[in-house]
Symmetry: D3
Subunit: 321 residues, 6 copies
Amino acid sequence: MYTDLPLAELQSLRTSAVAPDDLDAFWRRTVDASRAKAAPPVVVPVDTGLTTLDVFDVTFSGFEGQPIRAWLRVPAGATGPLPTVVQYVGYGGGRGHAVDELQLASAGFAHLHMDTRGQGSGWSPGDTPDVAPDTGAQAPGVMTRGIGSPETYYYRRLMTDAVLAVDAARQLEQVDGDRIAVKGGSQGGALAIAASAFSPHVKAALVRVPFLADFPRAIVITDAYPFREVTDWLRIHRGRADEALSTLAYFDSSLLAQRASVPGDFTVGLMDEITPPSTVYAAYNAWAGEKQMTVWQYNGHDGGGLDDLPRELDFLRRHLA
Amino acid sequence: MYTDLPLAELQSLRTSAVAPDDLDAFWRRTVDASRAKAAPPVVVPVDTGLTTLDVFDVTFSGFEGQPIRAWLRVPAGATGPLPTVVQYVGYGGGRGHAVDELQLASAGFAHLHMDTRGQGSGWSPGDTPDVAPDTGAQAPGVMTRGIGSPETYYYRRLMTDAVLAVDAARQLEQVDGDRIAVKGGSQGGALAIAASAFSPHVKAALVRVPFLADFPRAIVITDAYPFREVTDWLRIHRGRADEALSTLAYFDSSLLAQRASVPGDFTVGLMDEITPPSTVYAAYNAWAGEKQMTVWQYNGHDGGGLDDLPRELDFLRRHLA
Amino acid sequence: MYTDLPLAELQSLRTSAVAPDDLDAFWRRTVDASRAKAAPPVVVPVDTGLTTLDVFDVTFSGFEGQPIRAWLRVPAGATGPLPTVVQYVGYGGGRGHAVDELQLASAGFAHLHMDTRGQGSGWSPGDTPDVAPDTGAQAPGVMTRGIGSPETYYYRRLMTDAVLAVDAARQLEQVDGDRIAVKGGSQGGALAIAASAFSPHVKAALVRVPFLADFPRAIVITDAYPFREVTDWLRIHRGRADEALSTLAYFDSSLLAQRASVPGDFTVGLMDEITPPSTVYAAYNAWAGEKQMTVWQYNGHDGGGLDDLPRELDFLRRHLA
Amino acid sequence: MYTDLPLAELQSLRTSAVAPDDLDAFWRRTVDASRAKAAPPVVVPVDTGLTTLDVFDVTFSGFEGQPIRAWLRVPAGATGPLPTVVQYVGYGGGRGHAVDELQLASAGFAHLHMDTRGQGSGWSPGDTPDVAPDTGAQAPGVMTRGIGSPETYYYRRLMTDAVLAVDAARQLEQVDGDRIAVKGGSQGGALAIAASAFSPHVKAALVRVPFLADFPRAIVITDAYPFREVTDWLRIHRGRADEALSTLAYFDSSLLAQRASVPGDFTVGLMDEITPPSTVYAAYNAWAGEKQMTVWQYNGHDGGGLDDLPRELDFLRRHLA
Amino acid sequence: MYTDLPLAELQSLRTSAVAPDDLDAFWRRTVDASRAKAAPPVVVPVDTGLTTLDVFDVTFSGFEGQPIRAWLRVPAGATGPLPTVVQYVGYGGGRGHAVDELQLASAGFAHLHMDTRGQGSGWSPGDTPDVAPDTGAQAPGVMTRGIGSPETYYYRRLMTDAVLAVDAARQLEQVDGDRIAVKGGSQGGALAIAASAFSPHVKAALVRVPFLADFPRAIVITDAYPFREVTDWLRIHRGRADEALSTLAYFDSSLLAQRASVPGDFTVGLMDEITPPSTVYAAYNAWAGEKQMTVWQYNGHDGGGLDDLPRELDFLRRHLA
Amino acid sequence: MYTDLPLAELQSLRTSAVAPDDLDAFWRRTVDASRAKAAPPVVVPVDTGLTTLDVFDVTFSGFEGQPIRAWLRVPAGATGPLPTVVQYVGYGGGRGHAVDELQLASAGFAHLHMDTRGQGSGWSPGDTPDVAPDTGAQAPGVMTRGIGSPETYYYRRLMTDAVLAVDAARQLEQVDGDRIAVKGGSQGGALAIAASAFSPHVKAALVRVPFLADFPRAIVITDAYPFREVTDWLRIHRGRADEALSTLAYFDSSLLAQRASVPGDFTVGLMDEITPPSTVYAAYNAWAGEKQMTVWQYNGHDGGGLDDLPRELDFLRRHLA
């Protein structure tokens, strides 16, 4: 069943989140500091048994230079420069198996599939630790890890990884640094928004049912995890809501979307309880670039699944031409 | 947690199912009659946007000549003859998207991915109807469709499709008819067993957490669907248990496994509630060919997932050499 | 708790479903074709051990002349002609036991209790197969069986059975063919509406919490089965919603109700999640005949239960006098 | 799935409950005291609209002379004396509707359907209050009401009602006082056992999936309600287990069954979680009279349902001849 | 997530319950009659092992003089007269352990913690029986015990206990009879309202997430227990809703609040499903005395927990000065 | 219901975990290194409004000198030296409110209530961050944080905190350093075992339903969290079970218990699913000191609750005399 407002209201909704005055400064400082610590990516071939594709295990410099893992998949023998998609993963998962998600490389793209620090144990494996200077008292999961301040919040580290993954991609021999798109669903969609907002090298974005949008609204309209991790924390830490919401504003994908100016292809599921449609539209309506929305009327958080692929390939070919 | 007997007991367990005297005659008659109605497969190229693989929409003759759909995936431009894997799908799913499950073709095999008649609406789409002369009074799902007699039982039709898919594969230009293996998980594993038992053209089988094994035991040791569909039906149709179990014996994968003589690579998850380990071992222990079992100690019905792939490729290359 | 709109809004609600232009033609053609294949009903006495009632096992001709089972219950030794109630069963059930639901016969009516093809394994047993030329790829249950076209859709067959049950009743010696009412709850209520719409021999209808009404609204306002079978199917078969909804319009009980002109006695439960009150009212408000609604304010899909019986007997005696 | 021991072990199991030395004295004293306060039953005809049956609203004297309601159903116009069945109701229900459960009267029996004091709001309505001198601190439900002592325990009152219902039946004009059987399922089965044990006028008993048997075992092998009400209470009232189990022993149907010497027809469902098979067998194995057990292999607490009726009628006709 | 109306609407909401004309007379008569039967409280020291506090087991006269238990906790050696808090317990619990909830006594108050008749087996133990002259046919729990009439309804007895607990407190040597406040959460909050309404000796009230408010609205907007016990009963006892709601009106805490004129400190959780915010506000908005509301925005029925204590102590010190 | 083996088998069970050769060396090195970085505790009075107790906010040096919070509660004005209990908290909670759990201080003990790093958002608040050099890819919660090596595993840090809390206690003026006991339930019980094993200053231990015992057995016999976090991780990280179990062995409370020689008072709940009785007994049976076990026969993970307090006070007074 529908989980949110009627479509007409969704289409005109504005986020209820308010950007902190220093949001841009915070992110500029954060990204610059980490970029300054970056080393060249390390690329190791993986023996997968595949014959039509080559897969590499990539380690690049993320937040504060910490090593972040990724898979690079390309057509066998490709030397590039190829149009490229940097992909981010949904909540709880990691980069998965070297031989999973072969579509983009099989369609001729270089496909850099970034791991998610500290996650990667819920539904697909990951290999990247989260080095957390201070996780505070937190609810299980990462939604409230370090929520006491934007400096210590988990997504500061992960979003910086996402931005720097684009930098790293540009240093790979198979990649055409002027033809890079980002892609992701749910948490991965939020990361794609963040990368679009803060990396000048992103040319287009595929954003599926994006997460982390319009926190003030999201946490009072859904009981579903992972948004609910925040209310679980607020329930115990009474009186710290202002502090937490003030932190979250720096990472709210509906605010970051205002800073993205490239073409964006979005999806939403009208029966989505995890990222309720109004939060998805909060990000979409805020997106500053050219944009299109595909409404999956009878789907939930699964959105369009592989039914999105033909439109994705078309979108990528138009914008990475 | 473990859902069944200790491993040592599993390894020596025998199925409690008893083969009807005319089991072989029944199947010989069934397959022969359908084979007699077979027409050559129809192969239509699909425009997927992939560049490293070619995908074809195949329609072949299944039970009683009824049209069954499948995807054929091969390396781009391959003309064969290639070593080939015919794959069957788990309960509730269909052949899925043309661009899903690209691993085998990307590893150089011809990959014929058979649709499942009448299913394909639970977790992956399907395109093949079930033409059912008489579904009887049935529980939701297909487990009790036509259970009143082996003649009308759903799996008579589906298992015949599975056997004839191998016939059809042999007629495809990309396929080396002497190097065909079958593969499947859960229901797909049961179909792989059936094809191994009744098709002389199968050379090896990859059987993951197979379903439909040891019905008399299975239905009293688990409450999980889809085995539970049978007890749901028996609960209402009191007094018809002998009739139902007598039908099921013709399709019990632990009895069919006794008729398979090719090399078999099996998996089991010791925390599996859907196909409890003792039912999987009932099939494995009965398997008449050379065999090996991979035990996934902390997994359920997910078994080994893509972690099985390296061993699969090795097994295939050894037995389809 | 209340599951839908306030009562005042329910009372003025109109269905959102739109009748296809050829709805009447479709049904006329369907019913006529099946009626042409009808044979006289076969009536076999059942030894139930009851002394105040006689029970018969009736087999009559339903869709395309296929044999449909029913129970006929009458006061012991009754030869008729008696006022008669043809009753249809809710989703998942069959005609049940010969000795169940004795109230109507014990009140002096001939009671023809029709079986439900292919169902009858969920909560009461059934004995009638569904002969399905093409079930397509379907979700478990019957809601999406053959949904690709009105020609193949399951309810085409079942609703035709319901209409022809009235024809069959008229041929039974105990039945007064001019005094026949129909009755049913949930799916049975939808069948009662269909029979009222398409059989000229129905004189009154008892419609309890009717199902299958206002599909376009129903599937987006409830997550409860069996309406949810439709969204389960649409979730997987993305892009086929128009096709499916176009099929469903031929069977929407809120559209069929517009074609019923006999007196109707309806019930609704304001706490009903399975047939939400607004869908029940969509059918009730559309009903073209004289009508009355009993609102069960604190009940769900159980509606009035046996508390409806006194009013039912009064209604029947007035309209079958 | 099976919820308990293998059948062979069930068949030889003995109850773990131990009868208090004064059990018989307690019950003799209790029943005698209440019998001394009994007044003749009051019988009021009910206008049900039925024509083949007459229904009466009976009020008789139960525990300490308190008024207990019941329905009496007989073939229309019957004056008797008829063979008679006194029936008791399962946990949470009351005597239900006047027009429900018409089978026994329709088969020619006088059918006295006793209400359950204080219950009758869970699945069928009741009309009899429980006058409780002291309910103590209790868990929701009646299982721990007054559990501090056999004198105050709820089932002392209800079981006495059950015994006196037989006395009352004998005073009804339609009843043949020498041909009375008792019947019940679950809690009703326990009451049928109690009446068989303590009333000299019972000639046979139909005992379906009886409850309240072998408390010491039951409460540690199942988590299902209503047995669980006892463990809910024990969990809070730590250190009072001896006191509670000492009370329960006076009402344990496996101990009362040792005091029943009439023919008994029992049923059990091997998939029953509510009255686990071993507790049912604890009562059956203890039954001192001639006995027979019907095993419903694939059923739970629903047992045989109406499929039991033919055997019931046969049993009744043999033993009430 | 939020479970009810927006805050602005909550703040102006009025109860939908209507006070019976004789509500005040009913309560005056009830309390006076019970007060007339009261005996002096009996106070027995408890050996708890604590050294900073003394604990006493108090038995006082409640409804109709029936003995009600309570704990009295005071600073060790205190002889008084102390400012005093009489506390009532939430649904399902009893007075708990002698050594639980030590905060108020440790803060220098005499703390009289009243037991709850017949409850005390759900989450904390109780020791007080409910002597129920007539519990009627009831749903499990106490919400429908005796609901057929205000005379027999359970809360008549319990609310009278609550009023007389204040009388009893005044007779304890440690208590300053002119400085008594009441406190409670959920059901305890409703009892605090009742005591404030009907005892002239209450000087202030701490009312946390109060229960039993605005029954006509509550039972149609939440499915959560214990309000749901009422709809469970109404579902079975169709046609008795007027009778039940007429009884409940005498005990509706939103109507009793209109009769309370002392200062009140309230709390509400905006994510509360058990006592939905609109029902809490129905009581708060009706409260006739000086009042203040603390809104716990991200909490459910847990409300403020111990985070309320500083404000409570401040409130008590101001109003019991 | 009982969740594990019969009591007699529990009493003779031995842990299946095997201690690594360097377990003692690992812990000696770990504790010594952290002890070397310790600074004196900082003690700040808290204004709680209590008059019979004083509460202080303590910050002491834990793992690697990191600051750990705790509450110190003592009788008002106490200057000591007092017998002392250092208490640890269960999984998911923190030290809670300053004014919670007042029993031990009210009984005359100094009560040091240690916070739990990084937790404290599940059911009671916490204030201490976890500084995690490398959390690896982890499941939500802390059970798999850093599980790749004993050096990085979360419980290395937390157990060291627990040991050093005893050191810190000895530096507090109110504490008699020769009369210190430790206490905890579940995770807190495991920490009490660890402190008993590795701190020479512990004189006695109160261990309630201890967690973290016999990992190899625990993770295959229960599906309940938090043990299940480990299997969730193993399910995804196939092939890393040896590595994970090898890490866990350093922290298995059934192995640490072998290193504890002080008197121990244990509890177990026979209906416990979270720490199954066999795992509790694995720790108890291994405990090297004098010991006593209280079996709560009808309780789960709640164990004895406050019903344990009298025995606790007696035990403490005997062993801290």
